[in-house]
Amino acid sequence: MTSIIGREIKLEDGAPKVQGQLKFGSDLVLHGQLYARLVTSPHAHALVTAIDTTGATKLEGVHSVITAVDLPDIAPASRSMLLLAKDRVRFVGHPVALVLAESEAIAQDAADQVLVNYEPQPHVTGLEATLALNAAPVWPEGLPGASAEAAAHGAVGGGDSGGAEASPNVAGDSTFERGNLEQGFAEADHIIECTYRTAGVHQSYIEPHATLVEIGPTGDEATVWTATQGTFFVRDAVAAVLSMEASSVRVVGTPVGGGFGAKFCLYEPLLALAAKVSGRPVSMTMNRMEEMITATPAPATRVKVKLGAKRTGEMTALDAELVMDCGCFPGSMSILGPMLMGSNYQCPNQRVQGVEVLTNSPSTGAYRAPAAPQCAFAIESAIDEMARALDLDPLEFRAANASKPGDKMAMGNPWPVMGLVEVLDAMRNHPMWRDREQARAQGRGIGIAIGGWPGGIEPAAAACSLQGDGVLQIQISSVDLTGTRTTFQQIAAETFGIEPDQIRIISGDTQSGPFAGSTGGSKITYTVGPAIMEAVAEVKQQVLELASGVLEADAEDLEIKDGAVQVKGAPQSAIPLAKLARKTMSYGSTHKPLYGQGRNAQPGQAPGFCGQLAEVSVDQDTGEVTVHKLLLIQDVGKAINPLLVRGQMQGGAMQGLGWALYEELSTNEDGQTVTATLSDYALPHIAHLPTEFVMETVEVPAPTGPFGAKGVGEPPVIATAAAVANAVADAVGARVRSLPLSPPRVLAAGREN
């Protein structure tokens, strides 16, 4: 048998997905269920003085209209606990009431007839406005508790908080310093000091949030079917609002039609309460406009960078401040920025700071490598500007300062094994970089950038059993977003010595499966994979021991081949696995079941780096940018399934092109999201695929990763925008310091030149 690791196996659920056969959350219907529709605030900040639901309730088919008075008084510890506004709305889209009706259309009709009296209050939108000391406070009564959602994403922990006089809307501030900044800048031959901005963007998963909740007949159990990246996370939130034990809540993850960080927990607690109050199952599928105005997009940012370097190419000082407009709810993300801005390069003197500010806008959340595309855009642009100013080769300038394993990260802890240097080496040798002068001769611009993601960890367990038909069944509870079930088939098959089609992966709910962390932070293969390997190895040992008795041979002299156990090199001795398994599953048998367990807690993270090269042309009269070529070189540790790895890289880079060129959430002065449809909010299309879209991998094994694998989902989105911006600067000699690089911005930058 050739190795299964490295084999290109198609996604197990790929065909049913594209053929429309997979059942998503909104396809589920329970007898007697009600359909819910939100009534949301049209004001950015207002007091709710009265809610009149009589007209809505009178409509035929309306069950009830739920408002805050029907719900327990719960402190909003996280965004999903915001439930319905009690007396104050804080953003356009803030839920005020929930209509329950016999059909979705009736619920919508009724939602339009719920009359709410608002008394508008001063509001603040936009990052600069909210930083002002006299900004209208988003939470006049005091900030709510920090969210667990950021921790669930699990990139980093720790950090400190600044204390200087600040706007009432500063919700978090983390700064890390080392060396002596002043001295660092004094030593520099050149200093770049620039401000970069990135627009708020939306994860724009195809499938909207869809949830169905049923309360058990005795009222002390609940089942939640929901499209979530983290079933255990939802379980705890729902149990808290229902005042139930977490173990009484069963959360069944439905297939996720795109999450990208936005599907942890949003309206599940509210819908669980609605099911409890109404006594009927309640289902809600959000519509696209609701997704745009009342979900959790990624924050708009401003990054100030001051960078000093010597003519010889050594970085001497870095002072970088990231400010994130996190909308109306704190997300504890301020720690991410400093880590991402101050770790990839070794700069002896630096101060890196992350500030989280609040505005009367939808709260923000995680989006594939949260904060990283924004930080990379700023830092990688500044590095490029420096290389240009000092006439240094941009790749060599990066390589000269690149971090290596053991070097210090921003917080002072050492980098674990990581492959930034290897990625840069591969870029240096790639023809698309080597032949760059030819592209330039045709008027094109070439830009490079790198992006790194530290990777997440969280404990996970798995169970494995050999079935009577010879199939090896694996039970886990992690949510599959990226094809991990297919990868796990390969990992289990390789470990056991059978073909992947003999492996069945069962994804359990929160009651039937072992624990796994939420799918976020690029950690599922890395953390669940080893648990599966351990469980499979245990069963393999049991199988060999069982066969050893039957074949009257030492277990060490046996091998598993072609679905059977045989004495090494003696196929005539083979007993099929199915036959062995059945020996443990029959009346009167004295053999124990073939059942193993695996547990894993990774000792540390496995960072992944991805370098990108973009080749662009710019229409200098209209400002239109065309990306002709995009190259990604990523350290993936070990590509267990190169097809799926490339898929992740392609998807990430396409989203990166959205960051780079198209996507921008806009709100007007009233706090209204004016890009509330996918016609006003521009996502990249398949037509924007670069003509040459090249994915390459390098493999620097993660010491404790399964077969050396590390997370691959997040790294490929990070550097795209920066690479494109650097390529545009190369093409037209003008630097655009705001994302997206829309035609007006490109044109304006060209004019300034």
Partner: protein
């Protein structure tokens, strides 16, 4: 998203549709390809009480050359117009423009007449109907009338159509020797409504003197805007790089009054208008010269 409830009538004939319009007045709306109307209903921006579906009225589709015209039935799918050999031979501006309208999936349903009747200021077909001096044939139970395209677009999403009238056909004059055309637009992404678009239709005599210069712009006003500066500067002249550039600059500064929105400021739209008028005129005159030369040789 769900629309408000409405009554649906599948018209069996044009007469049937007209009768329903008489009965319900402006409570009723025609359903053509539904690519603009249905999204508006789902967003509840449009709440018609009655929908009159023309999709079963076969007599309203088809493309035919009749005398000096190509007649396009209102219900002809945009995709059929895009692929029509009659149009590519005789009204090539249509063929060049069609791919800029939305995406293939939408053009499979969207109709030629629906786009013109909808009169979106960012739509391509209204602009080229003006550039080409199309004639719009409309009918009601009171009788039929013809409306020149330049008189048809009254205001934002408003046309000269009365509530009981249906657009049945669009008549496009066929290209004569010495004529040239071009279309160009800038949008955020291909398939989006244009930030600015320009349709140019010119004609030169055998000596290269410009006889006609109809340049129509989209997304820069409440409807398609016909440039008077281009006609004034170019007709009677032999176009040069310089006169074309001047005509483009005059169009951008004097003929249009674009508004700014989240996608482009008014200033940026003016800039694009100048660039695109210059580009389309340059291409149109080059084609006119080729066409005149070919006519000379024949």
């Amino acid at each position: 998203m769900k629309p408000c409830s409405f009554e649906y009538v599948k018209a069996e004939s044009l007469e049937h549709a007209l009768a329903v319009l008489v009965e319900h007045g402006d409570e009723a709306k025609i359903l053509a390809g539904g690519q603009s109307l249905v999204p508006a209903m789902n967003f509840r921006l449009a709440q018609p009480a009655v929908l009159v579906d023309l999709n079963g009225v076969g007599a309203l589709s088809g493309i035919e050359r009749v005398d000096g015209m190509v007649q396009v039935g209102a219900m002809t799918r945009q995709r059929s117009a895009e692929r029509s050999s009659v149009l590519s031979a005789h009204v090539p501006l249509v063929t060049e423009t069609m791919p800029f309208i939305a995406h293939a999936q939408i053009r499979n349903r969207g109709t030629f007449g629906g786009s013109i009747a909808h009169a979106d200021p960012s739509a391509e077909l209204p602009a080229i109907s003006v550039a080409l001096s199309a004639t719009l044939q409309v009918t009601s139970s009171r009788g039929s009338r013809s409306i020149a395209a330049s008189d048809f677009y009254v205001d934002l999403l408003t046309t000269a159509l009365e509530a009981d009238e249906i657009l049945v056909r669009v008549d496009l004059p066929i290209a004569v020797p010495g004529s040239g055309f071009a279309f160009a637009e800038v949008s955020r992404r291909h398939g989006d409504y244009a930030l600015v678009g320009v349709a140019a239709s010119v004609q030169c005599d055998a000596s290269g003197v410009c006889q006609q210069a109809r340049v129509s712009l989209l997304s820069v006003g409440p409807g398609p805007v016909l440039s008077t500066s281009c006609a004034a500067a170019l007709i009677g002249e032999r176009p040069t790089t310089r006169t074309i550039a001047d005509a483009a600059a005059a169009t951008a500064s004097d003929d249009i009054d674009p508004e700014g929105d989240i996608h482009a400021s008014a200033r940026f739209r003016r800039h694009l208008a100048r660039v695109l008028v210059e580009r389309t005129l340059t291409r149109a005159f080059a084609r006119a010269a080729v066409s005149a030369g070919a006519a000379e040789q024949a």
